[in-house]
């Protein structure tokens, strides 16, 4: 299998311009969607009350919705939660109540809603819990996350510039930005809920995508140093072909894990799994096309990667 691949080299870099245009389009679409639709922020970021209920029989969400509407909870959002017997009702924050009383208010609202839904339903309704979620924490975490991302990107640029070369650090950082923007874009486009778990996933994507990019860059560096002949484009192509097996297998094992979290891990980790699956797929693509594309665009040469000869180093026989 490996042999066949080696014989029939895939000309990744031959289509690099198309890939580049494709990526630019995807990034633009993501940015436009983020600008127009924004993100569907979860309660973590918007403040509000969340009421969790369980029914003894499967619930019809529309019925729940209409009984809530009829009782003055017009802005309530009802979603099923984990199974068809459990629901979560999200209410926006009631501004007439003092912040210090919101928590106690949430408890009372939960009980009221449970009672009113019980009246309208033939199955037994149990209140699982009602929480007051403040956006303060979410906003701070988002800020921390955003700041963390920027600092992380900066440190990565410096590290790669030291270990490899400046052009590689530009490549890696552009690839990272590409992955994050597209993942956010997909969340925005399909109006999926963006909550704290998703934020954690985005941070994990940084780690994963970086890992991939470094492995490819490492091989490019090695081939530039080792191979005598060949244009930069050919050398990048050889490197990509050599690392392709590894790239695909690692993505596959990671995806295996993520898919099992998606189906088994339950409701609370679902958003995390979805975000990471998108990130891994985009990250795999970007490590092949984006980072190397940037390196070639910046006209990487053999001289960029030669190991500098240390001054004053000497060779001596061991006595």
């Amino acid at each position: 299998m490996r042999k066949i691949m080696a014989d029939r080299e895939i000309d990744f870099m031959g289509v690099r311009h198309f890939a580049g245009i494709g990526s630019i389009v995807l990034v633009l679409v993501s940015l436009v969607s983020l600008a127009i639709n924004g993100l569907q922020f979860g309660l973590d970021f918007t403040s509000g009350t969340s009421v969790r209920l369980s029914y003894s029989e499967p619930v019809v969400l529309d019925q729940v919705n209409s009984s809530l509407q009829a009782n003055g909870y017009e802005d309530a959002v009802v979603v099923s939660f984990g199974s068809d017997r459990e629901i979560r009702i999200m209410l926006s924050v009631d501004d007439s109540i003092l912040e210090s009383d919101q928590a106690a208010h949430a408890v009372a609202v939960g009980e009221t809603i449970a009672e009113l839904l019980q009246r309208d339903s033939s199955s037994e309704v149990t209140l699982l819990g009602s929480d007051f979620v403040s956006a303060k924490v979410g906003a701070e975490l988002a800020e921390e996350g955003g700041l963390g991302m920027l600092v992380a990107l900066g440190i990565i640029m410096v590290y790669i510039a030291l270990r490899f070369q400046f052009k590689f650090s530009v490549g890696a950082v552009v690839a990272l930005a590409h992955d994050i923007i597209i993942t956010l874009g997909i969340f925005s486009l399909f109006k999926m809920e963006f909550n704290l778990n998703t934020l954690a996933a985005i941070l994990a994507i940084i780690g994963y995508s970086l890992n991939d990019t470094i492995v490819v860059s490492d091989r490019i560096r090695e081939n530039f140093r080792r191979l005598r002949r060949g244009s930069p484009e050919e050398m990048v192509n050889i490197s990509l072909n050599q690392t392709l097996g590894r790239t695909l297998i690692t993505s596959l094992t990671t995806l295996l894990v993520l898919v099992s979290i998606l189906f088994i891990g339950g409701e609370s980790t679902r958003g995390f799994a979805i975000a990471l699956i998108i990130g891994v797929v985009v990250g795999t693509y970007s490590s092949i096309y984006i980072a190397s594309n940037i390196i070639l665009l910046m006209k990487v040469t053999k001289d960029d990667l030669m190991i500098p000869v240390k001054e004053g180093s000497e060779l001596d026989a061991i006595p």
């Binding site: 210090s100 007051f132 701070e140 994990a204 890992n211 891990g265």
Partner: protein, 625 residues
Amino acid sequence: MLNRYPAWKNILILLVVILGLLYSVPNLYPDDEAIQITGTNLDLNQSDLAVVTTALEAAQIDFFGVEFEETSIMVRFNSVEEQLRAKTAIEDALGDGYIIALNLAPTTPSWLQAIGAGKMNLGLDLQGGVHFLMEVDMDAAIERRMEDNLSNVRTILREQRIRTRGLNLIDNTHLEIRFADTDDRSQARAELVDDFPELQFQNREEEGVFILDLRMTPETILQIQRDTLQANRTTIANRVDALGVAEPTVQQQGADRIVVELPGVQDPAQAIQFLQRIATLEFHLEAALGASSLSYETYINPDGVPINVDNDVILQGDRISNVRSTLDQNGLPQVQINLDAQGGNQINRVTRDNVGRNMDILLSETKSRTNTVINEAGEQVDETEFYEEKRLISHATIRTALPRTFVITGLSSTEANELSRLISSGSLAAPMTIVEQSVIGPSMGAENLEQGIRGVQVAAALVILFMLFYYRLFGLAANIALIMNILLIFAVMSSIIPATLTLPGIVGIVLTVGMAVDANVLIFTRIREELNDGAPPQRAIDSGYDRAFTTILDANLTTFLVAVVLFTIGSGPVKGFAVTLMIGIVTSMFTAIVGTRALINLIYGGRKVDTLSIGGTLQPKPAES
């Protein structure tokens, strides 16, 4: 090319494996339900133990594993129901003066405990309970301090007979004094500057008025915030301890937040009521002789003497701005209490007319007890109920009209420390609000845990099958390393860095399962390449490991850097994720590189090998090598 590890290296690996096993194995021992009894202000003795065991026998509750120490008694039970029944029985038997807490006792063998091996803490999302995030009102804390400064400045200026044209609080951190001429101002400045090292002094003139600006330095503000948060945390921690909930968490978060987690508590309304109660300290006068028995209540003072305390509250605990135990000029212990401006006026007014009478301080604490009640369905259910308990913590004679700052003397140094601890536990340094609250039911916690564990199992099984299929014998080595890696992560998280396992943490572990094999994939594809390039098997192994190493190091180091950044900047779930990621990177580097190499060396090292069981390669014929 012998591919053999020196003996010391193999021994080292074996040692790490054994340590990893030892320190992760306690997680397999389920905890016993237990009750822990401690005295609120006295040591326990054998008769307390006898009371407890007799009460349990009388209530026909099975118990075992009784542990008795000077400060606590621990009793274990077979089920939660028995544990709850036992709590009520013990409470009834012992009466006041004890803290009876539901607890979980480890069943880890004592030799494992002796080497420091423990269980991983489960986060609230995995075991159920109430979670609160409380925010401390820092502005109020700073304002309170500045008001203190204002009135102190006023007192000093009055004492020194320096005339002013007014003192104003401009904002929380800025105070101005107006003077008619510069002489008064410089005199005032000279008098004040040494007494207020935390303030910056600055002269200013405005329309013929000479002004002295006093501003709080940013360092002071930071220090006040730190002290306030610390003080509030201690107060909350003391109250939560008195509540008798198993393994509560009270932690500082960020600059102005406190996280309170009460595992097992299911009624947030009551918990909120309890946590938000600010004034739990009351100052009363002793009832006058011959007063109507309706106007007082009788408390027992620490010396065992009954005292009649008047019902009127002369001062609430929230007027206290600072309490410490200090020594007076003769080196005798005393407790110094500072009140805020309003509290100072209040106490002065009352004590002025009551010199010679006794003043009593009552501490009211909220505690919990479990009652068995019959619900609508006619079933017996246990309900946790919070109730208030008041006790007398100080009984002292008023010698003079008390100013804002006064001392309680005539105490031993232990008594002084205890009293100041009790007073500070009854007053918050600054008001707090609950900004986030959530309840996770015990069944939901168990479900999260179960799903999480199942996720890890299925993910690991899939990866293991794939690696075995794709890399054969080498895949087996990688799989053993993977299992070792999970064990090591557990060992590190439960014993070395005591971390709390939460749902994002489990996800982090699951993710490292996927990514940990990456190092092995890198090495094995390198070995396959070498074989395809015609290298003999032994050399292919060696250079495969060798050449993949820099790649793995670079990739892991950069990811580690990201984790460090996330850890430093983030909090909560972000931090938790970063910790798992860092631990995972370190352990996986060890198991995937050193661990698999040792296994491969054991399998292939030191002998002539013609082919490698690494799957998917066209291996060169032996003749070619």
